[in-house]
Symmetry: C2
Subunit: 255 residues, 2 copies
């Protein structure tokens, strides 16, 4: 038996999230079903972050135990030959026998993208949230910066979630404007904003609820400093809406 | 009667091209069908460039004659409210009564994008051509530069096309690497190359056939200078393959 570390990317549009479910199409099921005929048995593939329905991954990491001695390069080619075009294996490497993609991740980075303009560029519509209202980037940046460090993020957790602790440490948190000249021409009448956050761990819906709250702040419905009051309250009702899943990308996992 | 100049963008994936056809879904038909209930009669919408099936537009320009006195801003909102998400009206302005988006265009710019790496990032797959083989960007750039000026592009025209003259003037032509850090993370194992060409007019399939030939040159199957010999030959059989439509974007139209 050997343990492999796979870096994968997916377009979450047509997936009901990472985790296998009885009926719906999931990334885990599609991956496991591609490995099974090579391994000649069912396998279980654990991910660093269980992304929700519609959420994308640029470099998700998953771990897999395999009896087959196929080389990493051949397995990459074989899997990409069998997988649908919306999931790709970027790289495979050998890992310690007890490696767990989830347990050993030291940091994860998520990107949440926002198109701030009257009209949504069609080619961005599957991976960027459209916010047509004017946004004040400066106050959004100030509010994003307040998230760095250890906080109780209970107010930003999906309702009904149960975890031992809602305290998480954020290592970086910025909201910035992206130079978008490579994806839309000048005169497209908008700008691309991106919330980039790195933490040791995240609660369910946390990045999307932070993004929704940052947009409220950008629309000047709340002050930037209110971010700290919302954190302190632990009250989900005080935070903003959960931004839609398609703007979110699991960007990087560190070990 | 008034004449309007509309700047539109579309994701060409689900369209059988710009031009209306009896059966298939086209950009022209979708646009004309959105204007008809406002104008209370059928309209004819001419485009600066008739893009083929699968080709995208970041800023296509079309012209439209209207009797209705609706303001440009209201018409933009009304059309975007009725159009599907894969076509958007970016801007509408009043034009001279005899304005023709096609006849009066002085230059058009097309971008052809190539992902040069082993594995295609899933979120790019609808708008970028995947070329996994090693490509020599330097020779591709040299070959692209040879296209500037007036040439007979008969060798790069779709077979069976009939036009009065196959001579066209190119104002700019570059092949370059795009900084792709905003769309894929470091370690994605590839690079994004883009062929950017501006001309007063183009033949059918011309940009895609030039892109296919540039890739042949990048793969070192032909020398960069052969571009001139292919032009001089006027022989379609000497040019490379027609690159797939999904890598092509009509980027800008000038007047």
């Amino acid at each position: 038996l050997r343990t492999l570390k796979l870096t994968i990317a997916y377009d979450g549009t047509e997936f009901a999230g990472y985790q296998r479910q009885a009926r719906d199409r999931t990334v885990q099921a599609v991956l496991e079903d591609a490995v099974a005929p090579i391994e000649q048995r069912a396998v279980n593939i654990m991910a660093a972050g269980r992304t929700d329905a519609g959420v994308h991954a640029a470099a998700q990491v998953v771990s897999l135990s395999l009896e087959n001695a196929i080389s990493c390069a051949d397995l990459t080619r074989a899997l990409n030959g069998m997988l649908p075009a919306d999931v790709r294996v970027i790289a495979i490497e050998e890992a310690a026998i007890d490696f767990s993609a989830r347990r050993e991740a030291t940091a994860k980075t998520y990107h949440y993208s926002i198109w701030n303009g009257a009209v949504m560029p069609p080619l961005l519509r599957r991976s960027v949230w459209h916010v047509p209202q004017p946004l004040d980037l400066e106050v959004m940046s100030s509010a994003a910066a307040l998230l760095v460090g250890e906080h109780d993020f209970a107010a930003f957790q999906a309702r009904g979630a149960t975890v031992k602790t809602t305290v998480r440490r954020m290592l970086a948190s910025v909201m910035r404007e992206i130079d978008v000249g490579i994806v839309v021409p000048q005169g497209a009448g908008g700008r691309l904003l991106r919330f980039e956050i790195t933490g040791r761990g995240f609660l369910r819906h946390m990045v999307r609820t932070l993004a929704g709250t940052l947009v409220d702040i950008g629309r000047r419905r709340r002050a930037a400093e209110e971010m700290l009051a919302i954190l302190a309250s632990g009250d989900r009702a005080r935070a903003g809406v959960t931004a839609p899943p398609h703007g979110l990308v699991l960007w990087r996992v560190e070990y």
